[in-house]
């Protein structure tokens, strides 16, 4: 990236610590340490495995969701694509196809779902909120319609075992390899390519982005296709992990994904956000839920706590802006980005 930035006027530690991403990572570390010290059985060997198995679909879908939200759009249909892909995997496998072939076809169906969303949003110009509320119902309806209330559960043990297997004695599930590879690819795409810069530019100001040569329509279209593909991949994993293809698989998952993405510091208005923050956001919610479950806290309280955390995190840019506005007046070392509140503008690049 060959962009020129105004000289930073704040010390490095402060700039690093005051980014949303590092705040979330620090909070994650604090919660993990607190839980290790105070939550019974949290230090057990199974905690990490279960935590990662449970959050794997959310982690996967959060990757494209981050990019979609950075452009200022949203994809609410992801959980329904998970359900549809799960049902397709089941139906196709029952019809005699092997898991890799059925999985590939399920992912292609996800691509088609994403392309449908993307076409309506990018080229027809409809608001993604409305489009994907519609396709949330549409794809779920297809999934449930294909299979009714029954479930297909006859999957080969080797594939089911792979979905829950761990890497050696580390307790880290094998599926994390897939996630790490995808996370690296998405980070490359977002941070180190022209396409990635176009994503931020689109989110900040689509018209300006258009005039600087960003193909806004194509960018959005591609992101929705990626969202569909990765959601379908998560659906394949989900199905094999539970060994059960059902139309109602992963109902409500979209809200967990979006909550984690926002908690990770992505602006719902677009233009800002980074993947390491999002990954920390997903894990933070996972760790808090896991610790509270171990303490036998009712799920309603868990939801209250996560909800408050989310509200606090959405509020924090405004609070930090107010704080940095105060310090900027006292600290006259120069103009520049320190007066731009954390969470707004170029710092997110």
């Amino acid at each position: 990236m060959s962009r020129e930035y105004a000289p930073y006027s704040q010390p490095l530690w402060r700039r690093l610590l005051l980014t949303r991403e590092w705040a979330v990572i620090a909070l994650l570390a604090v919660v993990v340490l607190y839980s290790l010290a105070n939550v019974r059985n949290f230090d057990g060997p199974l905690t990490l495995t279960f935590l990662l198995l449970d959050t794997a679909p959310i982690l996967l879908i959060a990757l494209p969701m981050t990019l979609v939200i950075v452009t200022g759009e949203i994809d609410l249909s992801v959980a329904s694509i998970v359900g549809l892909s799960s049902v397709l995997l089941g139906v196709l496998h029952e019809a005699g196809l092997s898991i890799p072939v059925a999985g590939l076809l399920a992912i292609l169906a996800g691509v088609a779902c994403g392309a449908f969303n993307g076409f309506l949003v990018a080229y027809v110009g409809l608001p993604s909120l409305a489009v994907t509320i519609g396709t949330l119902a549409l794809f779920r309806g297809l999934a449930v319609g294909l299979l009714g209330t029954k479930a297909i559960t006859d999957f080969p043990d080797s594939w089911k075992d792979l979905a829950t297997a761990t890497i050696g004695d580390t307790g880290v599930p094998v599926v994390m390899i897939l996630f790490v590879v995808l996370a690296l690819l998405f980070t490359l795409l977002l941070q180190f390519t022209t396409f990635g810069r176009g994503i931020y530019d689109t989110g900040l100001n689509p018209e300006a982005a258009h005039f600087t040569g960003v193909n806004v329509e194509r960018t959005k279209f591609i992101l929705f296709v990626l969202s569909g593909a990765v959601s379908a991949l998560a659906g394949v994993y989900y199905t094999l992990r539970f060994g059960s293809a059902r139309g109602d698989n992963a109902v409500g998952l979209e809200l967990q994904v979006i909550a984690a993405v926002l908690l990770g510091g992505v602006s719902i208005f677009g233009g800002r956000g980074k993947l390491h923050g999002v990954i920390a956001g997903v894990l933070l919610i996972g760790v808090i839920s896991s610790a509270l479950r171990l303490e036998s806290v009712q799920v309603s309280y868990t939801n209250v706590i996560i909800g408050l955390l989310l509200v606090a995190s959405v509020m924090s840019p405004s609070v930090l802006a107010w704080v940095s506005g105060k310090t900027a007046r006292r600290n006259k070392r120069g103009p520049g980005p320190q007066s731009a509140p954390v969470g707004v503008g170029t710092q997110g690049r």
Partner: protein, 342 residues
């Protein structure tokens, strides 16, 4: 409970202060365990979801049993009745190393691996209400058999119409497996034991309130001599009762079937419905807890022929499919309906 909510507050305070101020020195360590000796039996009750009156009732029964036994029982569960959410609670029970887990499965196979993992860790698994595959639990506490359900409904309608006349069945959907099996058994029972009762029609309300309501109206029009309706589905019986109670047929056409007290209370009290059947979820939870305790203490293995005492319900024997049957379905009528809230 107080202890937990206190800790929840501490946790929330920590999390929030961390989020806003990035300084996470929360309340002092309150942790550690205050849960007595490890020889006590600890049981986790995992219904399909929380906030469901049916499962609230079964948990009340489970708690009563746990108190009698001296075991600790904790109810946990997701808000949505999904398998993946349930798996997280099964995993947690395995991590905590509880002695027994009582679960009503949201999916017979999807929670299997998690249950087996918990069993490997030494937790005994009892399913109730909704079973899993047999190889991933130690025991299933069965609320009723198909024969029992079919028989009680035939007995009720026969009693209510004086054992003769035309009846019809208002079922769920045409391909509902359970209902179709029951209807087949009811037909056989009618033919063999109630020769004067004629089953003139079977209609399908698709477990939809409005459809069931309309089908009830159509039944009464097309069969003017109809004396009774049997609806082996909770949706159907409630819709049919609503139609009857506002119609000229109220008190003249008998209605029975499978229903829940909360849905049927009004119609039992206003005389539309004399009696209907279902099992008693409170007893179901009670029995499941005694079974879990018997497994956890090693009193039984869950093998066919094993017997154990279940408090006020008496002695039970494990059947061939590693299940225990609660007993005959429970008949609700004006006298006992107010004892139930589900």
């Amino acid at each position: 409970m107080k202890f937990h909510s206190k800790r929840t507050t501490a946790f929330a305070a920590l999390v929030l202060s961390g989020a806003m101020a990035l300084t996470g020195c929360g309340g002092d360590a309150e942790g550690g365990g205050d849960n007595g000796g490890s020889e006590d039996v600890s049981i986790t009750m995992l219904p399909k979801n929380l906030g469901n009156p049916y499962f609230d009732t079964s948990t009340a029964g489970a708690k009563a049993a746990a108190e009698e036994i001296g075991a600790t029982l904790e109810e946990v569960g997701p808000q949505e009745a999904t398998a993946d959410a349930q798996v997280q609670y099964i995993n947690t029970a395995a991590q905590q190393g509880v002695s027994a887990l009582i679960v009503s499965a949201n999916d017979p196979t999807a929670i299997c691996d998690a249950l087996n993992q918990a069993r490997d860790a030494g937790t005994k698994v009892v399913t109730f209400d909704s079973d899993t595959e047999p190889d991933c639990r130690d025991l299933f506490v069965n609320q009723a058999t198909a024969e029992g359900i079919a028989k009680v409904q035939v007995d009720l309608i026969a009693e209510q119409i004086g054992d003769s006349g035309e009846i019809a069945i208002l079922s769920a959907s045409a391909n509902a497996t359970n209902q179709n099996a029951w209807i087949e058994m009811m037909k056989q029972d009618l033919e063999a034991n109630h020769p004067d009762i004629e089953l003139v029609d079977v209609v399908y309300g698709d477990d939809d309130d409005q459809t069931s309501f309309d089908k009830t109206a159509a039944l009464l029009q097309s069969h003017p001599n109809l004396k009774g309706i049997v609806s082996p589905t909770t949706v159907g019986i409630a819709a049919a009762a609503r139609y009857l109670s506002d119609s000229e047929f109220k008190g003249k056409v008998a209605l029975t079937g499978l229903g829940t007290p909360n849905q049927m209370r009004e119609y039992v009290k206003n005389g539309t419905v004399e009696a209907f059947a279902l099992w008693n979820p409170e007893d179901l939870g009670y029995l499941a807890t005694y079974a879990a305790n018997a497994l956890a203490t090693g009193e039984i293995e869950g093998n066919p022929g094993d017997t154990f005492e279940a408090g006020k319900l008496g002695e039970y024997t494990v059947e061939d499919d590693n299940s225990v049957l609660l007993g005959e379905p429970f008949v609700f009528n004006a006298e006992n309906i107010d004892d139930f809230d589900f």
